[in-house]
Every structure is written in structure tokens, then in C-alpha cells.
Symmetry: C2
Subunit: 618 residues, 2 copies
Amino acid sequence: MNYSKMFIPTLREVPADAVIASHRLMFRAGLLRKLANGLFAYLPLGLRSFRKVEQIVREEMNAIGALEAKPPVIQPGELWKESGRWDAMGESLLRVKNRLDSDFVVTPTAEEAFTALVRDELSSYRQLPLTLYQINTKYRDEIRPRYGVMRGREFTMKDAYSYHTNDTCLDEMYQAMGRAYRRIFKRCGLSVIPVKADSGAMGGSGSEEFMVESEIGDNTLILCKKHNEGLCDYAANVEKATCAADFTAQTSIEDAKAAAAKTPAFEKIDTPNVKTIEELCAFLKTEPKTFIKTLIYRASNVELDLSSAPGCEKLERKKPSLDAPPVYAEAFFAVAIRGDLDVNEVKLAAVLKASEAALAVETDVVRLTGAPVGFAGPVGLKTLPLVIDTSVTAMFDSVTGALEKDLHYRHVAYGRDFEAWMIEDIRTVKAGDRCSLCGGELYVKMGNELGHIFKLGYKYTRSMNVSYLDENGKNQIPTMGCYGIGVDRTMASVIEEHHDEAGIIWPASITPYHVIIIPIKYDGKVKEAADKLMEELTSAGIESLLDDRNERPGVKFNDADLLGIPWRIVIGDKNITQERPQVEIKYRREKENRMIDLDKTAAEITLKIREEIALLNS
Amino acid sequence: MNYSKMFIPTLREVPADAVIASHRLMFRAGLLRKLANGLFAYLPLGLRSFRKVEQIVREEMNAIGALEAKPPVIQPGELWKESGRWDAMGESLLRVKNRLDSDFVVTPTAEEAFTALVRDELSSYRQLPLTLYQINTKYRDEIRPRYGVMRGREFTMKDAYSYHTNDTCLDEMYQAMGRAYRRIFKRCGLSVIPVKADSGAMGGSGSEEFMVESEIGDNTLILCKKHNEGLCDYAANVEKATCAADFTAQTSIEDAKAAAAKTPAFEKIDTPNVKTIEELCAFLKTEPKTFIKTLIYRASNVELDLSSAPGCEKLERKKPSLDAPPVYAEAFFAVAIRGDLDVNEVKLAAVLKASEAALAVETDVVRLTGAPVGFAGPVGLKTLPLVIDTSVTAMFDSVTGALEKDLHYRHVAYGRDFEAWMIEDIRTVKAGDRCSLCGGELYVKMGNELGHIFKLGYKYTRSMNVSYLDENGKNQIPTMGCYGIGVDRTMASVIEEHHDEAGIIWPASITPYHVIIIPIKYDGKVKEAADKLMEELTSAGIESLLDDRNERPGVKFNDADLLGIPWRIVIGDKNITQERPQVEIKYRREKENRMIDLDKTAAEITLKIREEIALLNS
């Protein structure tokens, strides 16, 4: 392709709202333009890379037996009401009414559409497993789109859905997807961090996120320092991260019990006008870690059986739909944790099998504890189920609220002065905590999610009434997995990882062109050599851009660097007209260029590009 | 691909709403499923063909220098307000409000988006011509979607937009697109009828539609019978069709004038209670063709200069926008035509340069003619501009309304008794009329539009303020063309043209698989031969489906016919275990099969498929 025939509107200025490299460079290199907030148009050059990312995803999906389909982008609201997501999705779901006043959605994911398709066609276990996918337009009505395509409103996602007769079979596809995802990112030249993640609003259990490090990432990742050395593979989203117990005062729970036995009997103390832990520590001249912090939480849609839990005798348990398990719409819990730690509400909700857990409002706290906010404590608490973090099991001689205004207890010991209704790991892990796998130090990074694989289980197949006949002719519900990759985000992340001050540095696998040929002046012998090289490269399957513009060499070199095309061939008048015609070649990642005989150039470049692609694919 | 690993839910029953072959067969062969009215999901087999059609379109677009881009599917309403289509498009435009109450559309075409893109990047004439296209999701809120993807709500369209400094350059791209379209349809194995069409609501002049014949087509086509013999290429949409003059009473206009001179002086006659032409003919014992039918039309947004037209002295002419030409918001015309003919309102609107022409309401007719409906006539008419069809110029000794209740004139002759303000061809052509090119007989067919190419001119570039600097540094507005092809419709039309009672008969270029291999029993030597053939064909680039199902041969044969895969290879135990192993091959279009040596099969089939594709591409 001749440069003058392409549409590559490069920019010297950076758009004002472009704060990250990929956003800046996608605009500057003429890959992308903005049509409205969060809505972008890929220009011809950008689309070439975009399609290559899509194709890599497609090849890896096909390789594990997933079948490509194409449901509509606009989908009937009815299906979303069936699954329950019409109400659950909130405002990020773009809803449309058509001329007949029917409800539609501009689809953000397609669990409903694929499950409806499968429901209609599935009759026998012989048809399973079945994995379908699409690479298609999606929409999420982001309230504040930014960072270019990294957080846009319309985007392209590969989403796959698998259906199985049993968990083992689901796990096989889940593992195959995990391997396919690793291959996809590797082929794109991307370093990803696979992390165990909470599956959040998607429901179900068992999921893994594929993250890239990013200063503007919207996920907090907890990583083990030994991860970097390849010694430990611990990586988790903070929402689900665990860490090694840090029973600093004791070496074990047994020690803690012994210590508790030796602790003086607990006693009430006056703590006038003391409200925060900091004030209490100052008042008692102690440290937060000696304090048992007790918070009152309100949980929604609790699946856990509370029939024998304190204070829950009168709670009503209802089935939200015929096939769904019964839940308590609302339940309150006292949650105790060591004073220097924080409760992780996602982990808390998970152990309570609740859709959400949030701090109770003041009136509920007063009603349930009989004291103002700030004086809750586990001792003598009878109105609520007490959930304690494992950190509390090692506490003796502790301070805690006395369930009365301006009063605390001291010399409190777990197991002697109070018992828990439930003991779980519900702490928020932070930098400096120890890795639960290897004991290494944990640190924090911000990350962006590029892909996500889930075991959804029966969430959709149950609510949407999917069934098949098993070997014995008995009706069964299939179990399900879902698997997504953001195509735009993947492409932008490649630029984030591969660029310098001058521009993009494309990996050979997804570069818009492999080679840029720059004739210093597109004329005479130079033009002849450029055209011949173009022809040789093209017939070898190497995609080349010939900069035939009447521009100064400096402009052409700068554009070549900005565009990030891996190989640059410069053809100058002097070198091409000498007895042994030569050209200058340069690899975008390197500073140095070198001269090479014209007649060896195409073969050499072809070899180099094939080698790089082979390495990425290996 | 093994059949058992694909997802091909064939159906014996036909969906109740499927009245055309493509709709029936796309469902029966497991290519497509319905998600909601007018919203379809392509299943894996269907998507394979769909992608091949897309790829043919892409290749032909790239070959003429069009550049692929990808604007969003959801587009800001602002752009549509700028172009004026927000109001003009009516209810078929699907509008969305997002969570911030901003207006968006689910785009049916993308003139606005591409023109906005070009506007922002265009500065110099050196950047032109520029042709961009996309192959992307579109939405049209059909009130009554039907015939499967032939008239769905969501569909995929290739739409291209070109920008030029002058009409010659626009015409070059327009012609290149026309050739590309012919190639696209030929490569898909489709017979299309290119017809000159009115560009209707799209604005601009110069357009061609690519039609396929269809009993359920929504276009009426006028074709010359000599078209079929390759002798004449006349084909037109009835909205724009012309025909040869049929001055049956005379041989020429000169004859008509002479005849007029010999006609007795016109006189008023009583025609009590006579309202229709039929009643008048019965009353006067004459034929409709002796009657000058005169109708009053109301035209909107008339660009024509009416400053010297009768009755228009007080009409106000206004510019709807700064750069747009001035128009009369409303104007009335008397339109006269031979009594056996009908006025074509689209042709009338075109000659008046109006956005629309429709029969005036009764009160306007009475006000403007001074008589009830049914008594308008050209003689003595002073309150309205008189537009006559060319047929009237040959009329003498005619009957016409006398502008008074229950009165007509007879012995009326054009040129003697009245003059026209404008003479144009505004008749509706019908079967039996004569071809204006060759005099052959015209006939009528119903057709479906697959593609459409337009010269849009300045409609969008002017309303959206696009400009560039010409060679002299002067600001200029570019002229524009637009070009669309429906991908789904093209695919469905191929099935319409290529099927029999047993199923689809795919052309090799867009078949989901080239070959289906049917082992009678997938076991032992038969399995060995099937696997080997599969491998040989695959490595030759031939896409094959191996029917490894444990089904009766009859079921497999029926499915193979239904799926429409061009070549079928049947491997039976007896033939494969004989000394010289043989298989049976059959071309889907032919009844006969033949035996062939196993070791020659792959080469033979590969050759046949390559030949067929080469022929389609030639």
C-alpha cells in the first residue's frame, strides 16, 4: 500500500483528555478518532491491528473447539427479565424502546442470548459439551468514559459460553480457556497477570481474571514479590486476596489459648468522649492491634441458613423464584476483626452467601447493639450472629466496646469471654502482608482486566429453564461457564506495554504493516528499488507500506517511528546507485540501523518477521 | 471439522412464518435462529457463509482503493440533527437516550459519522479523493419485519462513502463501485438486475440499484423483454422508469399539431353526476385515452424557481439553512396527463425539484380550481402552474374538465386551446409499454434491493460544513457519493436463486464447507479412508465436513442435501475394501454420482472446486 493512498492523519498535538500512552498514541498515529464521549471510530490503520487481534482470538477459540456464532447486538428485554439481569444490571445497561414500545437492550454481554439459543436446541446429553462464542459489538453505558478505548462505551468483546453435563467437564473447558487466553496474550506480545478474582455480580464460583499492570487500572492487585522471580504464582484481586496469618504475639492458636487462660478477668472501663480507635489507643496508651474492632453489617439476599443464628429467629426466608434457593432479603451481623485490619466486604458477602454486605446505618446499629456507634463489642452480644476474622482467634488481653456509651472492656480474650458464630478470613490484604502460599512479602499494583473466565454454574440455565435428558432419560440442568476478552483493551494494552517517546513499537503479530519502505525521494532509481522491494515483500506475504509522499526525510522518519512499524527500509539515492546497491534497514526496537545489499533485503526482512511471529506464537 | 463437533441443529419442520425459500432453508439447515421478531442469530454453519460474503465484499472494496474503517454502531444524535436526518428519518430510526439523557441512534447508515470524521481531518485538495467503508451492524426499526434476514431489523451492511473535488472524480468512483458491485454479485453466484433508481429520501442525483428478482420484493421493476435476450439493457425502478412515446393517433408531434388545427372549436358540455373517468367514458361513449386527466398536486420544499409561474406570485422562498438553496415550503400544481395513464409522483417530485409531491386535499382543490374535485382542466386555468405529461402534447379533440361543477369541454386540443408551463415525462410506466431504448415490450417484475450506489452531491458536506482548500487556497465543499450492500440479504438471495426441494445448493465461493465426507459407518477401513481424505483435502485448502455421526445413511444423505455442500463423498465398506479402493462422489447440482479411485479423489475434488471458484471470480 502506498502511504499517499492510505488515510493516516497523524497528529503532532496530543488530545487534551489523553492521559495515558495508548490513548495519546492511537490518536497521534492516526489509528483512532473520537465521535463522542466514549464512542470511537477506528481509522484504516488502526483497524488493521484491531482485526489481527480479533483473528488471534478467533484462532485460539477455534483451536479449543469453541464455535463462532453471531447473535444480534440489539436483544429483546424479555430475555433479560427472564434471567433477572434487567433489574440487577442498573444504569450501565443501555435500554431502548422501539416504535412498538417493546423493551430492548444494547447488549453488554450475551449470557441470555446464548442460553436462550441453547435452550431451544438442546434435548440430549449427547449434544454436550457445547461451547459457542462471538466477537461482536458490546455497549456499557459508562457514566464517565475515559482513557480512550481502555474505558469506552461501545467496545468489541469476544464472549464465549459453554454448557456441560457435569463439573469435571466444565472444569476441562475452563482450563482450556485459561490456556487459550495465555496464548492469545502471548501472541499479542502482552505480559498479563492471571489472578484469582471474585466473580462479583456475575454469580457463580471459580473465576480467573487476566490483568495488565496499569497506573490507571481499576483493579487493585495483591501480588507476591517472589512472583516476579518466578518462585511463587500468587496473584489476586484485593476483593478476594488472602494472606498468611500474622499472629505476631503467638506462634499458634494453641499458644493463643494458653495466653487467654493466663489473662486477667475482663473488666469494664470508662472511656469518656472516645470514639475512634486512634482516640482509644491514645487514651489507653496502646496499639490498634490490641483492639477488637466490631462493626455491624447489613447483608442482602443471604443464602446461608440463619435459623439457629442469634437474633435471627424471626427472619423470613423466601424463594425469589421457583428454582432459586431461598434467601433472607435482609440480615444483620456483628463482624469483629483485629483493630489494625480492615474488613473486606466482598469476602464478607461471599462467606455469608449474600449478594452484598455494607455497614449498617446508625439507627440500625443503635437498635441492634443498644449503644451508639463506636461501642459495639463481642462480649455479651446476643442480638446478632457474630462473625469474626481469623485474626481475632489469636487475641487475648484485648480491648473492645462494652455495648454501652463511653464504656469499653479490657483483658478480653477470645474463647474465654466470647465465642464466634462463624470464623472466616474476611480481612483486606494490604502491602506488607505475607503470601499465604510462600510467606513472601505481598505488594500492591493497579491493573486493568483484559479477560475473565468464570464458572457460572446453574445461574442462567436454572433461571432460564434449560434442560436436557441424561443417559437415563432424566431431565437435567446443564452447568455453564462464560469467558470474555476485550479486543479494544487488549490492543490498547499492547501499546501501553510497547512504546517509547517517539511512538508505538508494534509486535510483528498485530502490527498494521510489517515494513515501511522510505524512499528519500520517490523518483528514478530510488523509486525503482522501492517498487521492486514492495513487490518482493508482498509476494512473500509481508505487508508493507511505501512512503511515497513528497515530504522531507525527517518527517517520514518521525511518522515511521510514531506508527511503530517493526521494520524500516530507507532507500537513498547514493547507496542505491553505487555498484553494489544497498539500503538501510532498522528494527523499531533498536537504535542502530545497518546497510544491506538491496537484493538480499526482502529475504532478510521476511526471515526476521517470520522469526518474530514464530517466537510470539511459540 | 467433524459433524459431531459442529452445532448444526437441522429441522424437519418449517417455521410457520417462513414463506420464502431462503427463510425456510436458513432455519432448516441450521444456519440461523430467531431471537425476537426481526432479530436473528447466525449459528456456526451460517456464519461461515456470512463471513465469506463479507470477505468478497471487502476484497472488491479494497481492490478499488476504498479503505476500511469502523465507526461505532451507537452514534450521537447531535450528528443526525446537524445533517437534518434526526427529523427526516421518522420512526424507522431507532433512538436511544443514555443515562445522562443524551440522544443517540442505533445507526441505519453512516453518512453523518463518516462525514464528521472527514470534516475533522480534511484540509487540502491533496487528501482527495477519499473513499472509506465499513462492514458493520445496522438497525432499521421495521414495523413489520419478515422473510427472515431478507427484511430484518438488525442487519449487516457494507456502506462506503467517497469524497471528491469534482463531479468527474465522483463519477469515476461511482463507476468503479458499479463494476465492483457486479463482481461481488457474480462471485457470490447471483444474477442481479442493475436498475436506474430514484434516489428518494437519500437526496442527490445519479444512482443505481442492484436488484434480485423476488416474488416478495418490495420494488417494482420495469424491464425490457429484449433484456433477457441480451439485446437491450433497459431496467428501471418503476419510480423512475420511462418508456417510448405512444402517440397512437399520430406518428409525430407535427402530425398532432396538424390534427389539432383541424379539430372543431372546443365547446362546453353538460355532464351531470359524472365524476370518474369511467363514468365520463360511458356517458360520452368514448375511451379514457381521449380524456385529459387533470389533477392538483401539493409539492413540498420546491427548489424550482416559481417567480414567474401562474398563481405563485405571492409564494415566499426561504433558505432552510445558510448553505442550502432556497425553497418554497409548499406549492400547488395542476398536472395533466392522458386519461389512460397515471402520474408517477416520484418522477413529478423530481421534475419539480421537490422533496415530495402528493395529491392536494379537497379543500385546496376547490379553492384553487373553483370547482369540486373531478372538474379540473387545463383550459382557462390561471390560478396554478400547469405541468403536462408529454402524452398530452399529442392530444387533440380531447375531453377535459371545465373548471365548473357538472361541466366538461370537448374538442380540446393542446397548443391551440391551452399551453403548458412545463412539459415533462411524468407517467407511470406499466407492462406493455414500449422500451425507450429499443422499442421492445416492457414487462414488470418484483425485486429486492441488494445494493445501491448514489451520487449524493453536496447534501451532507454542505449541511455538515465540510470544506477543504483548493489549488488556489480557496475554500471549497467536496462532493460525495455513498454505496451500500446488504450482506444478509445477499446471502439469503443466493439461497433463493440456488436451491431445490431437498435444500440449498451453495456456490463454491460462499459455501460453509466445500465437501462433505460421508462414511457409511465411521469405523475400520472406512474411517481410515475418511480420515485420510479429510487430511488430504484440508492440506489442499479445501474445507471439509466429516459426517462422523452414528446415523442411518439416508439421514446423512438428506442432511447433506439440505446443507447444500457442493461435493459429497460417500465411503462404503464394500468399495473401500476391494482391491482398488473406490468412493462415490456427487456434485450437489447434478443427479448422478460416480465412482472414483480413492487415491485420486482429493486431487479431483480440489480441482473441481478451484475451477468453480475461478469461474465465479472470472
